[in-house]
């Protein structure tokens, strides 16, 4: 099997290599595509007040209360990750040493696996940044749930007419020039909203400015080909339970197979037609010869 360098890298990544290290291997050609708006989440600043979660639920008209996981009535929630080696919380000090609180929601991938997987294009990436969902198209096949490397989409399992649910980065508000409600609600300045390039630059600036506070990594800079949600943290992402995700955009994996199919159709069609015609002619001639004899 001949592997190109790129294929080899993607296979190596599939084998599981660590999270993004700042500045490592950013491909300039792809950086251009990574536009649109993004949210930068600073785990070291989050105090776990759940104001973002409450604002999101109020905005959507969902029932109040703390969620323990994403659900059709919780597009975002605060995940509490216990640390194996406690270390003082940058804001809360020793009180928060044993754990970190992390805001979870759809990562809004630059090249989303869900949108690539969806057979009816119910999910798509908008130029503005959000990955949005059109319930009127959805058949409920749940391939998006399977395809998502971050296990984000939720399905209404107990409904006769179910839909898929997930955060849409307040796409409707963004269209009006406003930001996501979660970002506006954060009292701890742990959430920032802006163009993805600016958010990436801000993340790098924070890490460079306080290199004793932050680990030198931006989760989302390259995960699954880059996401519109970016995380910086004072503890390693593995310890927060973040998934190690391949660097290459996931749609490329299936496209490698799908892209070969037109060739298969033409090649196989020509070969089979040729075989059929030749063999049929030959049998017909043999039959005629037999009749003549």
């Amino acid at each position: 099997m001949n592997l190109t360098r790129r294929e080899f890298m993607s296979l190596a990544a599939a084998g599981g290599l660590g999270v993004t290290v700042v500045g490592a291997g950013v491909r300039p050609a792809q950086a251009v595509q990574r536009n649109g708006m993004a949210i930068l989440i600073d785990v070291s600043r989050c105090v776990g007040c759940r104001s973002c979660e409450a604002a999101c639920k109020a905005n959507r008209g969902f029932p109040e209360g703390a969620a323990e996981d994403l659900s059709p009535t919780a597009y975002t929630y605060i995940h509490t990750a216990a640390l194996s080696t406690p270390r003082p919380h940058p804001v809360l000090g020793e009180d928060g040493a044993g754990q970190r609180t992390v805001k979870m929601q759809c990562m809004h991938c630059t090249e989303p696996a869900c949108a690539s997987a969806c057979p009816v294009a119910a999910l798509r990436k908008t130029a503005a940044g959000p990955v949005v969902y059109d319930a009127d198209r959805c058949m409920g096949c749940r391939y998006c749930l399977l395809a998502c490397p971050f296990q984000i989409p939720r399905f209404e399992w107990r409904k006769a007419l179910p839909v898929v649910t997930k955060c849409d980065m307040c796409a409707a508000r963004q269209a009006e020039g406003k930001g996501p409600v979660c970002v506006e609600a954060c009292p701890a300045d742990a959430l920032a909203f802006g163009p993805r390039e600016k958010m990436l630059a801000e993340a790098s600036r924070r890490i460079a400015a306080e290199n004793t506070r932050y680990i030198p990594a931006i989760y989302g800079a390259e995960e699954a080909g880059g996401t519109s949600i970016l995380y910086v943290s004072d503890v390693p992402f593995e310890e927060l339970g973040f998934r190690v995700v391949v660097r290459e955009p996931l749609p490329a994996y299936t496209w490698k197979a799908l892209g070969k199919l037109p060739g298969v159709v033409i090649g196989l069609g020509a070969v089979l037609t040729g075989i059929e015609v030749v063999i049929r002619r030959r049998t017909e001639m043999q039959e005629k010869e037999r009749e003549l004899r």
């Binding site: 099997m1 296979l11 399905f155 197979a257």
Partner: protein
Amino acid sequence: MITIPRLRPGRAVLWLLVLGAAAITVYRFAGGLGVATNLSDRFPWGLWNGFKLGAIGLAAGGFTMAAVGYVFHLRRYKPLVRLAVVAGFLGYLTFVVTLLIDLGRPYRIWHPIIMWNAHSVMFEIAWCVILYLTVLTLEFGQIVLERLGRRRLLAITRMALPPLVIAGVILSTLHQSSLGSLFLIVPGKLHALWFSPLLPVFFLFSAMAVGPAVVILQAAYMDRAYGRRIDPRILNDLGKAVMVVLALNLVLRVTDLVARGAWPLAFNGSFEAVLFDVEIVLGLIAPLVLLSLPTSSPRVLLTASLLAALGVILNRMNTAITGLLVGSRTWYVPSWMEIVVALGLLAMAILAYLWIIEHLPVTEEETAAQLRPALAPSPAPAP
């Protein structure tokens, strides 16, 4: 010729399973997928999906045997082509019925026809299945036309068979392989024993091997239950074809496993390793050994074919369920209702199959020479 059906108590059990599945299906549609299944957001595809993949795999005889009969024009296999077409037709119908039960909103199953996403593997599969089911219906229609005695229509449509069969072979090659491509998008979730860039090739080859194996099983049943004997030499040759494709698939699977450095995972005693080893040993190696034995007893051929069929089912279940458990960070065991529905769907396919072989001409076929008079202009058209 219609024989009296045997195995009456067996059929009662099949009907019971169908009724059970029907009742659970009603319950599932009333309360949503969650009330009947153990599926969850982290494990959105389960037994029914594995069952679907298995049904399509076992139905592959439809395209391989049709190619043998109508593209390669190998006459001696003609008595088997129709059996394969019936199995293919029923396999794909079973797939569609299962899909209707498994979809969140089955009444939108037609959406891919007008709502396109060329980058979606499932979109491609949807189109291939729609088109190939049309091809299968037309091929199956030949059998129905013959039963109805519409010989002129039969003679005319017979001429359209080669291009139709070629289209069927292309469509099958596309979607049999694409069912494997479905899992290329989960490199981080699917266990390394199954995740490979060659997944589409493995799915295609295993389908091509199991198609003729299923035909051998069908022929054996025709013989046992109805005394309709098919030349054992033909079945033996078919067994040799199965052997060649199985060997090719085994070599590819092992080479790929070694090339990716994943082979030690097959021997670490984990849950995945055990099921992988069972799949390879019972589904590939065992039938290969049996088929390569110098003696050709019908029982050996039958056992090998059965193992090859079970091997494909296990391969699909492993790819779609076993291999995804660890990567999904959750656990999934099908609920009893999922199991009953899957068995009920299988029972439905078997009952439909039995009805067809009892009522339609599935082993003999009117030859082109026999049909030629039907094409000649009729001397006195009926007023």
